[in-house]
Amino acid sequence: MPIIIAFPILASALILQTVIASSLPLLSGYADLILLILVAWALQERVRSAWIWTVIAGLMVGFVSALPTLVPVIGYVLVTAIARLVHRRVWQTPILAMFVVTFLGSLVSQGLVMAVLVVQGTPLPLADSVNLVILPGTLLNLLLALPVYAVVNDLAQWVYPEEVEA
């Protein structure tokens, strides 16, 4: 069930990303709905399928985006690893964890993309890339972190219902 439900949810999020989020830039950056969903999912207490969701999301994004296919996969894997690590440290404050992981994950994933593009020979000035793309995108991610966490939290409770002791 958790794996099957990943496909329609991540596909819908990808559609929203390509149609809406990518058309609402702040300077030259925009929010990453996929990253937010993966972070929120990985921070859920009872979720055991975060890694599978990460790989599925990375492959979907890699198929649609012009980036090399493995770049989103690796980026989202790193983000999920950060989420799992932070979850162990600040598990009593999941919302704080959501903000921390969103901030770090945005920087890591976009930094990875930038590094790959530079290695490929694409001219990307560091100052412009950070100031106009990465930081505005991170800000938008932080703004959307809380509502996305609330939605994913409800989803997690539906997929992994809490067992009531008799």
């Binding site: 990518s22 976009q110 993309v113 694409t122």
Partner: protein
């Protein structure tokens, strides 16, 4: 006779008085008297009629208010429906204008084959300036085909599936288009940037480039057809110590609001890889 007169003289006198009054009234001599007598009657009638109308209206008002409220709701719903239809028609009007302008492009260049496509999305990553269109290999699209609008060049197809394709925009940081400035005859390379700005690099130093000059594709390299409008020079950067000068370009196409594009399907980009490999 005397008994008859004694018995009916009062009746006769009353009759005479009545006849006399009627005669005077018909003659108009009693008009002021009649007016004075009727005025209080009319006033009383008016007073009573006004009060009755007020009471009647007050008793009937609940029914009127309910009917008015119902009618108001119906009119509001109808208004909302008409507004949504208006918005829908305005959107269809915009689509119509875009398609009509694309049709004009096809008419002006009848030697080329075109496939029209709608822009359905953008790349999920902000570093990549690509758009997704709703036509693919089933419609004859292939990788490398140039994409344009009524205004000018948009980019070229980067990847294709059966019914969708990804288009690399001119503003992408890794995009490079060979261009020429027809007024000066200069040639250069149009490159995008991470911010979406366009600039021309590698303009020879001995060429005098002026702001306002048009920028067209040159066709060199075989990746794009020649003589397609790209934009206009807005500023020139020239340093005496540099090998080349550069210029900023304002694109003719508004990439932020792309709705529909034309793909030139009868243009095959030249594959230079075998020549490069043999040179190595």
């Amino acid at each position: 006779m005397r008994n008859f007169l004694q018995k009916y003289w009062r009746t006769g006198a009353a009759g005479l008085i009545v006849i006399g009054v009627m005669f005077l009234a018909l003659s108009g001599y009693l008009a002021p008297v009649i007016q004075v007598a009727l005025d209080p009657v009319v006033a009383a009638q008016r007073w009573l009629g006004t009060r009755y109308l007020a009471i009647y209206t007050m008793l009937r008002s609940p029914g009127d208010v309910t009917a008015l409220r119902t009618e108001n709701e119906q009119l509001k719903n109808e208004n909302a429906l008409l507004r949504s239809q208006l918005i829908q028609l305005q959107e269809e009007q915009k689509d119509f204008e875009v398609f009509y302008s694309l049709l004009n492009v096809a008419r002006q260049q009848p030697s080329n084959d075109y496939v029209a496509a709608m822009v359905i999305g953008r790349d999920a990553n902000p570093f990549m300036r690509y758009v997704l269109i709703d036509q693919g290999s089933d419609a004859g699209l292939r990788r490398g085909m140039p994409v344009l609008t009524a205004q000018g060049l948009v980019g070229r197809i980067d990847a294709v599936t059966s019914n969708a394709a990804r288009v690399q925009l001119l503003t992408d940081a890794s995009s490079a288009v060979n261009i020429r400035l027809p007024e000066t005859g200069a040639e250069g390379i149009l490159v995008g940037s991470v911010t979406g700005d366009l600039s021309i690099d590698m303009i020879p130093q001995d060429v005098k480039v002026q702001p306002g000059e048009l920028v067209l594709t040159s066709g060199l390299g075989g990746t794009y057809p020649g003589n397609i409008l790209v934009g206009q020079v807005i500023s020139v950067r020239k340093q005496e110590t540099a090998l080349f000068q550069s210029a900023s370009v304002q694109p003719v196409v508004d990439f932020a609001s792309l709705r529909a594009v034309l793909v030139v399907t009868d243009f095959r980009p030249v594959d230079l890889d075998p020549l490069i490999q043999s040179a190595d």
